[in-house]
Every structure is written in structure tokens, then in C-alpha cells.
């Protein structure tokens, strides 16, 4: 019977990690539904971007208040999680504070003291975050795409962190042995004062309770990630690694189009020639994107990485002037649709069954797509290198090249370019007239 807690702990740990692994598998499978894209170039620059932007939070601090608070929570999260290693070892082997067996008291105390200070700072930062969302009601957290789930999700994460930090400090405060060391209890010794009248057994119960709730809370939080915008804590790293390295103004040239254009321009090409024996028919089935499978996998990774902070939307000129377009919504819609497609595949034995829905119209309207000025403000604003503009462009390509569904004025503009080489109806032969005017 004395091993019961160890066994219980091992079971909880295995179930939690197993369920998380299963969801990570779905996540990877869903991302791979996207088209292939070559991002194997310039590895040194990619590592540098990941280190600077994800690890170093370089773009977060462009907005100093939220940026610095975020750095505190982020650093706190990473460093305090070192404590999880000790908790897991203690849980599996029935030890108590195994760290003390391998580390000198002073070093152990220094570590735990650091965690305590960080836990306290994280707690305060998270409260400020909550106030910004719920009391100050910062505009970007109250845009129309922030419906009930995105709003709740944001708050749940904050509650999780408040509770986890409190449990960590209570666990330390109620630990008589740890308090007796008087090393590293820099914050918890003040909390311990609240427990001064408690019996030893009551304290032991509080300590054990906090310990169990803390680790179960962490494992629950781990499994909450997949369903939450909080997935960015993991995906920010690959996302910044695979982020665009080209100048922001450069839009991809569609290769399949190039082949056709080159053939049209080549006087020796025979347009009626049958493809060579064995040659692959490489005309894509669709130009542009009407659904998530038409996007590339980096764009789908982008969608899962988005933490819905809304910096993109708050910088978007269309959104600022009251248009429907919100770059954040483009990313949220892409993720929601991708999840829907993934569930469809799960429910149909690994095959996607046509569900009569798509990303275009069912999620993203043409009104949103045509409001974009392609100014790249959203791309510049994103702290984790997400590119909403590339999705907007792919969807415009579908509208124009597959459906000829551009707004009339744009069709006029394009007809002019075709006929006379300018977006307006002027004769190309008049192009140099300005010289003599």
C-alpha cells in the first residue's frame, strides 16, 4: 500500500503525456495537410530568427508594457518549470525534495528562492494581464472576432497561471522541513505566517494537497494547450524558424503559371503537343486557395501558432477604419477550419469526406479579402512571424483565377493592363507624351 501514491502518480503522468502525444500527432498530421513549400534555405538566418524572435522575445517588447510583462511570465514559466523535474522524480520514487540530496542546501535554496520570486512576479503580471483584458478592456481584446470562446480561453490561461503559482508558493509555505532549512523560502516564509496556528498534520495535508494539485494542474494545462491559443508557447519556435526570410514586399511567383506563360511566349512551343511519355501533368488542380488544404504547411503552422494577441489587427489600416478585415480573424478562421477538416478525417477513417464547406465564404468572406491593402503592417506587427497577408493573397488568387470573381473595378483595371499595358485606359503609344507637355 505504501507505493500507492507512486503508482497513482505514474498513471496520471502516463495518461497525461500519452493524451498530449496523441494530440501532438493530430497537430502534425493537420499541419501536413498543407502543400509542400521549400523552407530549407539559409539555416543560419533561421536559427538566428528563432533565437532572437522566439527565445529572445525581440518583437514582443516593441510594445513595452505588454512586452515586459510577457517576458516576466515567459522567463518565469521556463525557469519555474525546472521545479517540475524534481516534482516528477519525487512523485515517481516517493522521495521528498530529491534536489536536496544532490545539491548543497545553498544552491538548492538559491534555485527555489529564484523560483519563488519569479512565481510572485508572474502572479502579479498575470493579474495585470487580466485587468487589461477585463477591466481596462483594451480594444484589441474586444474586436468582433473575439467571441465568447477566444475571450474565455484568454482568461482561463490567466486563471491557470494564477492558481499554479499560488499552489507552488503554498506548497513551499506549508512544507515544515523546507521552512526549517530557511534557505530559498524568500516569499513562502511570509505566506507560512498565515499557517502559524496550524497543526503539523494539517500543514502536511495542505502541503500534499498543494503538491498534488500543482502537478495535476501542470499536466492539465499541458493538455489544454492543443485546444487553446496558448499553443504558441511551443509553436512560436518552429514558426519563427520557418518564417519568411525574403523582403516583405516579395510575393511568391506561382510556378505552374510560369510554365504556362513561358510556353505562351516561346514561339517554338507547340500548344497542342501531347505531354511526353511519362512526364507528369503538373498543372495544379486549383489556382490559389479556397480551403485549408490549398495553403502550404507553413501557413497552417502559422494558424496554430497564433495566440490571438491582436497586434496585427490593431495595426491593420482596413480594420482601423472600420472595415471587416481583421488579420487575426484570418488566422483564427484558418485554424478553426483546419481543426474541422482534421476531425472530419478522424471520423471517416483517415479520409476527408466532402462536407460542403470551405475556408472561403464559410469562414472568410470576400469582403474581408478585398479590403486588404497588402501593406504588411500585420506581418510586421506579429511577434511570432505569422504572415496573414500570404493567406489573403492565395485566396484572392482563387477568386480571380478560378472564379473570375474580382470586383468590377479591378476587372476593368486588369483589362486595361491586358489591352494597353497600364491600369488606366491610355494608349501605350502615349507613354512618353509627358515629355512634351
Amino acid at each position: 500500500m505504501q507505493y500507492l501514491p507512486n503508482i497513482l502518480f505514474a498513471i496520471i503522468l502516463i495518461v497525461a503525456i500519452g493524451y498530449f502525444a496523441k494530440n501532438v500527432k493530430s497537430l502534425i498530421r493537420n499541419i501536413k495537410l498543407g502543400k509542400d513549400t521549400d523552407v530549407s534555405d539559409n539555416k543560419p538566418q533561421r536559427w538566428k530568427n528563432m533565437i532572437m524572435i522566439a527565445l529572445g522575445q525581440s518583437k514582443m517588447v516593441r510594445r513595452p508594457v505588454s512586452g515586459i510583462l510577457h517576458v516576466i511570465v515567459y522567463v518565469g514559466f521556463i525557469i519555474i518549470n525546472m521545479e517540475v523535474l524534481e516534482i516528477i522524480l519525487d512523485g515517481l520514487f516517493g522521495t521528498h525534495r530529491v534536489g536536496l540530496r544532490v545539491l548543497p542546501i545553498s544552491v538548492y535554496g538559491f534555485l527555489i528562492g529564484t523560483f519563488e520570486i519569479l512565481a510572485c512576479l508572474v502572479f502579479v503580471s498575470v493579474i495585470i494581464f487580466w485587468i487589461r483584458r477585463n477591466i481596462i478592456k483594451l480594444a484589441r481584446f474586444w474586436k468582433s472576432e473575439m467571441t465568447s470562446w477566444p475571450k474565455n480561453d484568454g482568461n482561463f490561461i490567466l486563471y491557470f497561471e494564477m492558481v499554479l503559482m499560488s499552489l507552488f508558493l503554498i506548497m513551499n509555505a506549508a512544507d515544515l522541513q523546507f521552512q526549517a532549512l530557511d534557505s530559498g523560502n524568500i516569499i513562502s516564509k511570509h505566506i507560512a505566517l498565515w499557517f502559524s496556528g496550524f497543526s503539523d498534520s494539517a500543514l502536511h495535508t495542505i502541503e500534499r494537497g498543494a503538491w498534488w494539485l500543482h502537478i495535476i494542474g501542470i499536466l492539465t494545462f499541458l493538455n489544454y494547450l492543443y485546444f487553446s491559443k496558448h499553443l504558441h508557447i511551443l509553436l512560436a519556435f518552429p514558426n519563427t524558424f520557418y518564417g519568411n526570410l525574403k523582403p516583405k514586399g516579395q510575393m511568391t511567383n506561382v510556378e505552374a503559371v510560369t510554365k504556362e506563360v513561358m510556353m505562351m511566349m516561346d514561339p517554338n512551343a507547340d500548344p497542342f503537343a501531347a505531354p511526353e511519355e511519362g512526364a507528369e501533368e503538373d498543372v495544379p488542380e486549383k489556382f490559389g486557395a479556397s480551403d485549408v488544404q490549398d495553403l502550404n504547411w507553413v501557413q497552417l503552422l502559422n494558424a496554430y501558432t497564433c495566440t490571438e494577441c491582436g497586434r496585427c489587427t490593431s495595426e491593420c489600416p482596413a480594420n482601423q477604419t472600420g472595415k471587416k478585415l481583421s488579420p487575426r480573424k484570418i488566422m483564427m478562421d484558418t485554424r478553426d477550419r483546419l481543426e474541422e477538416v482534421g476531425k472530419n478525417i478522424d471520423a471517416n477513417k483517415g479520409e476527408f469526406k466532402e462536407d460542403g464547406k470551405q475556408l472561403l465564404n464559410d469562414y472568410i468572406s470576400t469582403e474581408e479579402l478585398w479590403a486588404c491593402t497588402s501593406c504588411n503592417a500585420c506581418v510586421e506587427a506579429c511577434p511570432v512571424s505569422i504572415d496573414p497577408l500570404s493567406i489573403i493573397l492565395e485566396m484572392r488568387r482563387y477568386l480571380v483565377m478560378e472564379q473570375s470573381a474580382a470586383p468590377t473595378e479591378l476587372n476593368n483595371m486588369m483589362t486595361n493592363i491586358e489591352n494597353n499595358g497600364a491600369p488606366w485606359p491610355y494608349n501605350q503609344m502615349d507613354r512618353l507624351n509627358w515629355k512634351n507637355e
Partner: protein, 263 residues
């Protein structure tokens, strides 16, 4: 006035068996839009003044395809691009300067993948080089001490990280350069990019150009400087919408320099 402009074409150069130092890509706005034509002429005056050996394609120039590409018409874009690249390569063009950030971005970034690789400069970068090489001199002249703000074109700034050249030129005019709330990489769009220039805006509660113009007017400039013919139109319309056209001028950097020298 027009007699003083020397605007040779590539065809004329080729007939003489010569290569110009640089090709001036005028662009559709610069060729046809009445307001933008003034910018084109101002830039040519500066080129003539600095004795730059340049040529234009004239009637052999065609739209780069930028608005078609950003509207989603990749076919039309690539047809335009490949046609232009054939002309440029036939003339063995190495270096291109343009006063339009959209042409600049497209030729610089999107043509290489289709067989057209050139050294491409925005006219503010080119003017800065002329200045650094001592071929062009700028005196403050009539703009000395004036409050001038620079509106960053998206396709010059964020798209290609060119922020300093236009600002250096304004400072050479001994003007007081003042910055808007949103500038450089945080610059707010004028509302024309992504083919928006050619269509009405979607339903909203304000026009983007009015929003941007308000940002500019907030810092009380005497001149709003632009580096893009489309931004120029949008900001000019914005100033008119705010009924400030008698107090605030919208001018291209090339016009500022040409006017300062009374060219």
C-alpha cells in the same frame, strides 16, 4: 520649359551603340497621371542637372503587373513581367531607377525569379547616391526651416526596409523633419496598395487616406513629403477632404529638391 528636358530613349541609345548609366523606369502613374507626371519631370530635371546618362523605355515600357499580382491575377502579372523582362534584357539593362515603390518592389523582388535580375533603386536612394558622389548639390533654398513630415510608402519601407534615404534628403533641405505617430516600420498605409487604388474601399467608418492624413495634420506640417505617386494622390485627397489644401502641400521628394533649386 519642356524644351529643357532631355529624355532619351533606350532605342535612341542603342541606335548610337551606347549604353546609359541607368534606366529610368517611369511607371504607369508617372507616365499618365497628371499629378505624377510632375514628379517624373522634377526627377528628370534633377537627372539632367546632375548630368546623369539615363534613358527611358518610352513606348516600350508596360505596366510591371504589380496591381494585377496583388489583386490575385498571377497570369496577367507574369505575362507583363516576362514581356518587360524580354525588353529589358534585349537592351542589356543592368541598373534601373524608378520613382514608384510598387514598380521598385516588383522589379527588384519578383522579376529575378522570372529571368530579370537588375540593380534596382528607388529615386530617393539614387538621389542620395548622386548627392554623396558630389554630382548633385542640395541647398535648403525655399524649404529652409519648414516643417516637413515624410509618409513612408509601404512598398518602400516595410516591404524593402528603405527608411533613411528619403529622410536624409529632407534634412539636406535644412528643413525641420517631423515624424508622425506611425512612422518607419510602423508607418500607416495611405490606402492605395494591393490594387485598392483602382477600386472603392469596402464599407467602413472612414477612408484610410483620411486617417493617415489626420495623423500627418496632427503634427502640423507645412509639407507632407511622399515618395510614391499613389501615396501622393491619396494624401493630396486626404488634405482636400480635411480642407487644408491652402495650408499644407503634398510633394514628392524629387519635387522638393527640384523646387529648392528652382529648376
Amino acid at each position: 520649359m519642356s524644351e529643357t528636358l532631355k529624355v532619351p530613349t533606350m532605342a535612341e541609345y542603342m541606335a548610337q551603340g551606347k549604353q546609359p548609366e541607368v534606366l529610368f523606369w517611369v511607371g504607369c502613374a508617372g507616365s499618365f497621371d497628371d499629378r505624377a507626371k510632375k514628379i517624373t519631370k522634377a526627377f528628370v530635371k534633377l537627372l539632367n542637372n546632375a548630368n546623369v546618362d539615363f534613358a527611358v523605355l518610352g513606348t516600350e515600357e508596360s505596366c510591371t503587373g504589380d496591381p494585377a499580382k496583388r489583386a490575385g491575377n498571377e497570369f496577367l502579372f507574369q505575362m507583363q513581367a516576362v514581356t518587360n523582362i524580354e525588353v529589358l534584357n534585349a537592351y542589356e539593362v543592368k541598373k534601373i531607377v524608378t520613382a514608384c515603390p510598387h514598380c521598385f518592389n516588383t522589379i527588384k523582388n519578383e522579376y529575378p525569379g522570372l529571368g530579370g535580375t537588375y540593380e534596382v533603386m528607388h529615386h530617393t536612394q539614387f538621389l542620395k547616391t548622386l548627392l554623396d558622389e558630389g554630382r548633385l548639390t542640395i541647398q535648403g533654398g525655399k524649404f529652409k526651416g519648414k516643417r516637413i513630415t515624410f509618409h513612408d510608402p509601404c512598398y518602400l519601407g516595410r516591404a524593402n526596409n528603405v527608411y533613411q534615404a528619403p529622410r536624409d534628403l529632407i534634412q539636406k533641405l535644412e528643413a525641420e523633419l517631423v515624424e508622425m505617430k506611425n512612422c518607419r516600420k510602423n508607418g500607416l498605409c495611405c490606402g492605395a496598395g494591393g490594387a485598392q487604388m483602382f477600386k472603392d474601399a469596402e464599407k467602413g467608418d472612414k477612408e484610410v487616406n483620411v486617417e493617415r492624413t489626420e495623423q500627418a495634420l496632427n503634427i502640423k506640417p507645412e509639407i507632407i513629403a511622399a515618395g510614391c505617386p499613389f501615396c501622393n494622390t491619396m494624401m493630396t485627397d486626404g488634405v482636400k477632404a480635411k480642407e487644408k489644401e491652402s495650408d499644407v502641400d503634398v510633394m514628392d521628394i524629387a519635387e522638393l529638391i527640384a523646387n529648392a533649386q528652382d529648376l
